[in-house]
């Protein structure tokens, strides 16, 4: 458990607080919706309600991360957000195809949803058109993925944030700030086993000490790509959920934990881990947890 010398930034994103010294604010969770098949809005509504109930009980915030796979899903998913996600709550949009990203940004702008939007994500593959669209339709916050295909170590991740690692003219942080996004969440880019998967965790304290920005990752992706775990079906989900523990333990601020179906397992796990971290960091570093922290909510 760590405390950082570098001043740690704390962002308010549409009422949600993220960042700071370990033990101060609860770890923020991102739960994914609509990864596969046709969007099932009834199912999604149920999972969102469960998420918000669990957040309320534990203090661990859950942000819905909407995966938009096809152009024809943009309109119904954004309408769903308007109707079902509580007003003023933040959400993130997770899109791979640049053209769908651009169209979604336009619609988020026209629906006045940008002040609640966390853009997932800015990375080295960003096109000029996407950059232009972001300047016109600027989201409140963005996840910046420190993926460097040449160097998967923490140094390589910093290089891509700092100077673009010779793949881009500028570093990703500079690019995001030139667009006008100040609330940046760094994603340490968890890669498959065999691709220095551990670097995503080791990079958490390194990057937080370097930039003081909220930092996290989708460490569960490493579990998903650990095909050998298919031979242990009873254990696979436990490993998937438990992998998220490493993030707060190494000083991280948020976990992108995969399908929101796992929210009932991940939220108590993270609440437990946050309490563990808070007890130590308050004792040794004098970091007092905020009123909404699981330690305050659950330990009476």
């Amino acid at each position: 458990m760590f405390s950082f010398t570098k001043e740690q930034k704390v962002f308010d994103i549409s009422g949600l607080t993220i960042g700071g010294q370990p033990g101060m604010y609860p770890t923020v969770l991102f739960g994914g919706l609509f990864f596969k098949g046709e969007p099932d809005f009834d199912d999604a509504k149920r999972h969102l309600q469960t998420s918000y109930e669990h957040s309320k009980r534990t203090g661990v915030p859950v942000i819905p991360d909407f995966f938009i796979r096809k152009v024809e899903y943009i309109e119904p998913i954004l309408s769903f957000i308007e109707k079902v996600v509580p007003k003023k709550h933040p959400f993130s949009i997770d899109i791979i195809e640049p053209s769908i990203k651009i169209q979604t940004l336009e619609q988020l702008g026209s629906r006045k949803l940008l002040p609640r939007t966390i853009y997932n994500s800015i990375h080295i593959g960003m096109t000029k058109e996407e950059n232009d669209a972001l300047r016109t339709y600027t989201p409140e916050a963005a996840i910046v993925v420190a993926f460097n295909p040449k160097d998967k170590s923490p140094d390589g991740k910093i290089e891509v944030l700092e100077n673009g690692a010779h793949l881009l003219e500028f570093g990703l942080l500079d690019i995001a700030r030139r667009i006008g996004i100040e609330k940046l969440l760094i994603d340490t880019a968890a890669l498959a086993p065999g691709e220095n998967s551990g670097a995503a965790i080791a990079a958490l304290p390194v990057i937080k000490e370097e930039y003081g920005l909220p930092t996290g990752c989708a460490i569960h992706n490493v579990v998903e790509k650990s095909r050998w775990l298919n031979d242990f079906p009873f254990a696979k989900k436990t490993v998937d959920v438990a992998s998220n523990n490493a993030i707060p333990l190494f000083g991280g601020d948020y976990a992108i934990f995969g399908p929101i179906e796992n929210v009932e397992l991940v939220v108590p796990l993270i609440a437990w881990q946050d309490i563990l971290v808070s007890e130590y960091t308050e004792n040794y570093f004098g970091i007092s947890p905020v009123a909404s922290h699981p330690r305050r909510k659950l330990l009476k």
């Binding site: 760590f2 691709e195 570093f285």
Partner: protein
């Protein structure tokens, strides 16, 4: 798995040692016949492609690369692999005209890419999901019984197992110092 013929471990399956066909399985449930040399999935348009190049040019008997199934949404890994074979990479190591999101080749020399372009012919069956049709195309390739391309090209060598003796007191990473309580400081600051 890893193998002498295939230096970069991964999810692939090895079949015939002197088979002339490698099969890239995109979004489809399909098992190629045992007469192919190697087959496996492709997911990402960067490291995934690099692995395929390294693990095909290492076996000079492989002369055909068959891509089948629906392309990977967003990543467009199959189409990016075809773009690489056709166009190569630019000065930033980006695959020229690749439709994928992050199509960069960073871990292979240009020489390896040139070898890939000359040793292998691409058989583009992207979109094809019917086993009979894919099997038939693979069968036609095998019937041509092409010659070996010559010597193997080892594009990448995984580091051998080593024992590292830590002689300094670095904890976690060289950029930071963590004291015994857990306080993190930038090294040299």
């Amino acid at each position: 798995m890893t193998d002498d013929y295939y230096p970069w471990g991964g999810e692939f399956a090895i079949c015939s040692r002197q088979g002339c066909v490698a099969v890239v399985i995109l979004n489809v449930q399909y098992t190629p016949p045992p007469s192919v040399a190697i087959y496996g999935p492709l997911r990402t348009e960067n490291i995934g492609i690099e692995k395929i190049i390294a693990n095909t040019i290492s076996n000079p008997w492989i002369r055909f690369l068959v891509l089948c199934g629906e392309d990977i949404r967003g990543h467009r890994s199959g189409s990016s692999l075809i773009a690489l074979h056709k166009n190569g990479i630019d000065s930033n190591h980006r695959i020229i005209h690749a439709p994928g999101a992050i199509p960069y080749i960073e871990n292979l020399k240009e020489e390896a890419i040139k070898r890939f372009q000359t040793q292998l012919s691409i058989i583009d069956l992207i979109g094809e999901k019917e086993k009979e049709k894919i099997d038939a195309v693979i069968g036609e390739c095998i019937k041509k019984s092409p010659q070996s391309f010559g010597e193997p090209y080892i594009a990448i060598r995984l580091k051998p197992q080593t024992t590292v003796t830590l002689t300094d007191n670095r904890a976690l990473h060289s950029k930071i110092i963590i004291d015994y309580l857990g306080k993190v400081k930038k090294r040299g600051a």
